[in-house]
């Protein structure tokens, strides 16, 4: 019988890994947030990263963000690819000078032994065309596998960052597969228990992967999605206009929600293969315009550092 503590060993359970990272970063002074309650493509979209990285205020936060990438669905048949997965996101503003060491300490906390494993920082310039954002940093490799992304944000929503935020994004499934030593994501032990009590990642998510793949690739109503995109875009602009009080903005957050919504509708349309190359560019541009406007609005709020 597995004891309760060892069930939460990050090398034994997916949830243990997640909890360990939360503990670790809480101890570093991060606010531990819960996932943002909207469909996003990556943890970066969470306003706790996108918006909070703008403006002069210091901010340290960590959270798990379920992320949806409709195009990556494989009907539950590919051992590595998922249309829904978890990212663990850390944002530290300003980036502390020992950020690399903190990251390595967090790996050690989840059981990666630096005397046995080869950790590498391999160049990876990050850019999000839809968010109008870019930064420099690395892919972090553990024995040749990319397990995290490490970025110093330089620009977000078209605005130069100052101070600079350091962003860490852990691919939780990959890390868990690594520390648990499994080859197939669906075989991950989710709760760290054995026998009848054991719950795998497949038990939790395989059906969802199959159903959402069908939805994303075959059944999502494209006409409706196009309309939703337009609606979200219009609503975003309307809220930006309504909340704009010259020196201040009173609705940056609700406006940004609509930007997130538009972005996800675009991802769904893209997965359905109905967006041509030229249209694709124009959709990305439209989302970016929204993101930029939301970033500008945020800078006129208290959270964005406006007096």
């Amino acid at each position: 019988m597995t004891s309760k503590t060892s069930a939460l060993d990050p090398a034994r359970s997916f949830q243990g890994l997640l909890l360990t990272l939360q503990q670790f970063w809480a101890a570093q002074g991060c606010v531990i947030l819960q996932p943002y309650d909207m469909e996003v493509g990556a943890g970066t979209f969470h306003p706790a990263t996108t918006l909070r990285s703008l403006g002069p205020k210091h901010w340290n936060a960590a959270y798990v963000q379920p992320s949806r990438r409709p195009k990556d669905g494989r009907y539950g048949e590919n051992p590595n690819r998922l249309q829904h997965y978890y990212q663990f996101q850390v944002i530290l503003k300003p980036s502390p000078s020992n950020l690399q060491q903190l990251y390595l300490d967090s790996l050690a906390a989840i059981g990666v032994d630096m005397a046995l494993h080869d950790i590498r920082f391999v160049e990876d310039d990050w850019e999000s065309p839809t968010l109008g954002a870019w930064g420099l940093g690395w892919e972090c490799w553990c024995d040749g596998m990319e397990v995290s992304q490490f970025t110093y944000f330089q620009q977000v929503a078209g605005v130069e960052c100052a101070p600079i935020s350091g962003e860490l994004t852990y691919g939780l499934e990959r890390l868990a597969m690594y520390v648990q030593g499994v080859e197939n994501v669906y075989d991950l032990n989710f709760n760290g228990l054995e026998g009848a009590a054991k719950v795998t990642y497949g038990d939790v998510f395989k059906q969802a992967e199959q159903e959402y793949s069908r939805h994303n690739f075959e059944h999502a109503d494209t006409a409706m999605l196009v309309q939703h995109f337009k609606d979200a875009e219009a609503e975003c602009k309307a809220l930006l206009a309504a909340g704009d009080q010259h020196e201040r903005h009173t609705m940056a957050l609700p406006a940004y929600d609509q930007c997130i919504k538009a972005s996800h509708r675009f991802n769904l349309l893209d997965a359905r293969g109905v967006i041509s190359v030229t249209e694709r560019q124009s959709y990305i541009l439209r989302v970016r315009e929204l993101a930029k406007a939301c970033g500008q609005a945020w800078l006129k709020t208290a959270g964005g550092g406006a007096a």
């Binding site: 980036s95 000078s97 494993h117 080869d118 950790i119 940093g137 553990c142 024995d143 100052a162 600079i164």
Partner: protein, 854 residues
């Protein structure tokens, strides 16, 4: 003499930037020192993922003192003059200046300035912060609690510490404690991130390198490369394999580790069903590992070499296992791609071959080749036509060339190439073979990208040659038309490489081909295929609406004049292709639609009114018909309009691009435009040809002499250059050149003195004025050689032409010895100058000897 040690310690520097950064650091610091009078004995820069290090040996301890005497005005000069002098000499009062006597001027003020040299360490304190701040990283960043650009310090990744020491070997060196961005230079560095992270106190380069080595850091990238290469070879050999060497990868891997530890991983042999290049690309691109081959079979082995950055406590077992697992996952993906590519696409015509389906998909998705040059599908259509045309010039089967062209870009749609762009072409060939295309067609699909550079191999298969030329010429012409030519060091579309490719394909296959016709043909295809673009972007910008009429007539004109494809567009085809555009024009320019129809007819030389009738029918909904009488009545007026508009506009634009002599006077504006583009491009080819042949050992001046605007036959240029270079080494060559130079000098002098008279030198001499025997002899020989030279040139026998010319050397020499060119008798003098001018002209008909040195 003291040495300088400088280390900039940061977070991981991207591997691809390391080598340049080391060079830049060395150059910037040494230049700044030399500029301040501080020369050095030696300098070397090193780089690892975390540090940039510079070692300069043999610097002076201080700058030498500077003495300068500044002479001032005479004693008693006005106030203003004195003030100016004081300012220049940096004196506060005239009492500080000495008075000396100067021979002519009398008593003058003079200032003896003495500037003490600075300590070198102070000079370093001055220059280093600026060098760090302005370091030329390709991309740099800010970090932490920084303020916005441009005040804050930027580095490639966060900069953590700086070591800077200066001093002679015998003493404890001084710490050059300059400060930049909140970092103060010290004598402290750090070892390997994982194996020896503690601080290390250093003195100078010698103990620094030794301390780093002890702290598991190999400073010198060349040594890291050597360790990796040697260890990899040894490890491979120990397992009965052979390392597949890869210099680019070796450089990159050496830039990812401070302490290289070579290990071996393995994968399931079943993955070797995937083409070896794909296995290699997978392992190389994603994992930065080397592949191995079995020396017996020469095929890839199911194992690979990885380079770790640590000495693991389990001797690398976990690392090798982890890497193997990732490689396995990547190869599973690759296998999946490879298998998917061999299945038909579900939504496409099942009767079409796999590659045809991929091309159909490319067309259906309208995949863009270049924003201004249209889709990949349009480009392939042009290449199909061009490849067939070139096939007929190079002796390839046009039908096979067509087939290869149809499929040459299809693999860009495959999964494997989508994942690994570097195997484009190669995969096209594999898939073509699998679907049963002819071997030479399949080969051409792979080889049409060749040669990729000066050392890449040049295809020999005629179909490959035709397709490779078509692909490159379409690219070049396209970027020329949209004016994206290479400038200086910028050549984003690798057009120089494409031109070199054309040159090597032609010369190394000994192709007798005048480039101007395929270039013109490629241009024609492009203009026709992109007429909408030219209408929408180019034309509208540059041309008023009258010019739209010309556009239409131009394409009619091309149809008539295009010599190689008379029936390229039959009328129905033409109308089908251009109707939408025509209708759009009519719609937008209602007022000129009538004349546009008419001019179209005129431009096409359409005296056959039935065709015009057809055209009318197509635009009936947009306006009233003209009857024949009206057209006939207005014909002269329209003709004039055409001529006038074509002429004026054409002159404006073409003057920018081309010598007007090259353009037939009767050409239309668009004909001139086409001429200008192709002429400019051919000049570019000649420039690249010069570079290529110079590297092959041809003399600069010889190339200048044989390359001219008219020379478009690369092989002929090469042959002439070789013949001329050889000829100039012979005695008769030397003698001929000497005679030519003498004649040319005399003529140049006279032409300068008597510019009005000079024009008549070109006229033939007259026999009655030939007096002296040697001028008679020269006249006779000129007569013979003129005949022989031109006969030889007509047969393209350049050596024979040179030998015919060589016969002129002796009579010319005798002429110079015996005859006084500037005779008192004006008629005699003129005749002699004409004789020399004739001599010069004959030489120039073969090559421009004025360019030859010596």
């Amino acid at each position: 003499m003291p040495d300088l040690l400088l280390e900039l310690f940061s977070e991981e520097i991207p591997a691809r930037m390391q080598a340049n950064a080391a060079q830049d650091l060395q150059k910037l610091v040494t230049n700044a020192l030399v500029d301040r009078g501080l020369t050095y004995e030696g300098a070397a820069a090193y780089v690892t993922p975390r540090r940039l290090t510079l070692n300069i040996v043999g610097l002076p301890a201080r700058q030498s003192d500077q003495h300068e005497d500044i002479r001032g005005p005479r004693v008693g000069s006005p106030e203003q003059a004195l003030a100016g002098f004081l300012k220049k000499a940096g004196l506060s009062s005239i009492d500080q200046a000495k008075i000396e006597s100067d021979g002519k001027k009398g008593e003058i003020y003079i200032a003896h300035i003495h500037r003490a040299g600075k300590q070198t360490s102070d000079v370093l304190r001055d220059i280093l912060p600026g060098i760090v701040r302005n370091f030329p990283w390709p991309r740099s960043m800010r970090w932490g609690d920084t303020i916005a650009y441009p005040e804050s310090l930027r580095w490639v990744r966060p900069l953590h510490s700086i070591v800077c020491t200066f001093g002679p070997e015998t003493e404890e060196p001084e710490i050059v404690d300059f400060e930049v961005g909140g970092i103060t230079a010290s004598n402290i560095t750090y070892g390997h991130r994982f194996m020896a992270p503690a601080a290390i106190k250093v003195r100078r380069f010698g103990d620094y390198v030794a301390a780093l080595e002890k702290a598991k850091v190999v400073l010198d990238p060349a040594r890291r490369r050597e360790i990796i290469l040697t260890d990899a070879q040894t490890l491979a050999f120990a397992h009965g394999y052979e390392l597949v060497e890869d210099e680019g990868l070796l450089n990159e891997v050496a830039g990812l580790v401070e302490w290289p530890v070579v290990l071996m991983g393995s994968f399931d042999a079943a993955f070797l069903d995937i083409p070896g290049e794909v296995v290699r690309a997978t392992i190389r691109a994603n994992q930065k590992c080397f592949v191995l081959r079995n020396p017996k079979t020469n095929k890839l082995a199911p194992a690979f070499i990885l380079t770790a950055n640590i000495e693991a406590t389990d001797h690398g077992k976990a690392i090798a296992a982890g890497n193997s697992r990732v490689v396995r996952a990547r190869l599973s993906d690759a296998l999946y791609f490879w298998q998917t590519d061999q299945k038909p696409l579900p939504d496409y015509n099942p009767k079409r071959s796999l590659l045809d389906q991929r091309m159909d998909k490319s067309r259906q998705l309208n995949i863009v080749f270049h924003e201004k040059l249209g889709t990949q599908g349009e480009r392939v259509d042009r290449i199909i036509a061009l490849a067939q045309y070139i096939a007929s010039l190079v002796g390839a089967n046009p039908a096979d060339a067509k087939r290869a062209a149809e499929l040459c870009k299809a693999d860009l749609i495959t999964e494997v190439v989508g994942e690994f762009p570097e195997v484009q072409g190669l995969m096209g060939r594999r898939y073509a073979e699998l679907q049963g295309e002819k071997p030479e067609v399949a080969l051409a699909i792979e080889e049409h990208y060749k040669p990729q550079g000066p050392s890449d191999y040049v295809p020999k298969n005629p179909i490959s040659i035709a397709l490779a030329l078509a692909d490159k010429l379409d690219t070049l012409v396209g970027f020329w038309v949209i004016d994206e030519k290479p400038t200086g060091s910028k050549d984003p579309f690798a057009l120089r490489r494409a031109a070199l490719g054309v040159i090597r394909l032609v010369l190394e296959n000994g192709l007798k081909i005048n480039l101007s016709s395929p270039v013109r043909y490629a241009l024609l295809k492009l203009l026709v295929s992109k007429i909408d673009y030219f209408y929408n972007a180019f034309d509208r910008e540059y041309l008023p609406k009258e010019r739209l009429i010309e556009a239409i007539s131009f394409f009619g004109y091309l149809q008539e004049k295009s010599p190689f494809e008379y029936n390229y567009l039959n009328y129905d085809g033409f109308l089908k292709r251009f109707n939408p555009l025509l209708i759009k024009m009519m719609d937008e320019h209602w007022d000129v639609y009538e004349s546009s129809i008419e001019v179209f007819a005129v431009g096409n030389n359409l005296l056959d009114w039935t065709v015009t009738e057809k055209l009318y029918d197509t635009v009936v909904p947009f306006g009233k018909r003209l009857n024949d009488d009206e057209v006939s009545r207005r014909y002269p007026e329209l003709m004039e309009l055409v001529t006038k508009t074509f002429e004026s506009r054409a002159n404006e634009l073409t003057n920018l691009r081309i010598h007007p002599d090259k353009i037939p006077a009767e050409s239309s504006f668009f004909e001139k435009y086409a001429c200008a583009i192709s002429s400019d491009l051919l000049t570019f080819f000649n420039e690249r040809l010069k570079v290529y042949l110079r590297e092959k050992g041809m003399r600069h001046d010889v190339l200048d002499a044989v390359i001219s605007l008219e020379a478009n036959d690369l092989l002929e240029i090469q042959n002439r250059a070789q013949a001329l270079q050889v000829f100039l080494e012979t005695d008769s060559g030397k003698n001929l050149l000497a005679a030519y130079k003498r004649a040319a000098n005399i003529l140049r002098a006279e032409e300068k003195k008597f510019p009005t008279e000079a024009a008549s030198y070109a006229l033939p001499g007259e026999v009655k004025y030939l007096h002296e025997p040697s001028e008679k002899a020269l006249g006779a020989e000129l007569h013979t050689s003129a005949y022989e030279t031109s006969a030889a040139m007509r047969k393209n026998d350049f050596t024979a032409a040179l030998n015919a010319l060589a016969k002129l050397a002796q009579p010319a020499e005798a002429f110079f010895t015996d005859v006084m060119v500037n005779a008192d008798d004006a008629a005699l003098r003129l005749n002699r100058l004409r004789l020399l001018s004739n001599f010069r002209a004959q030489m120039h008909a073969a090559a421009d000897f004025s360019k030859i040195a010596g």
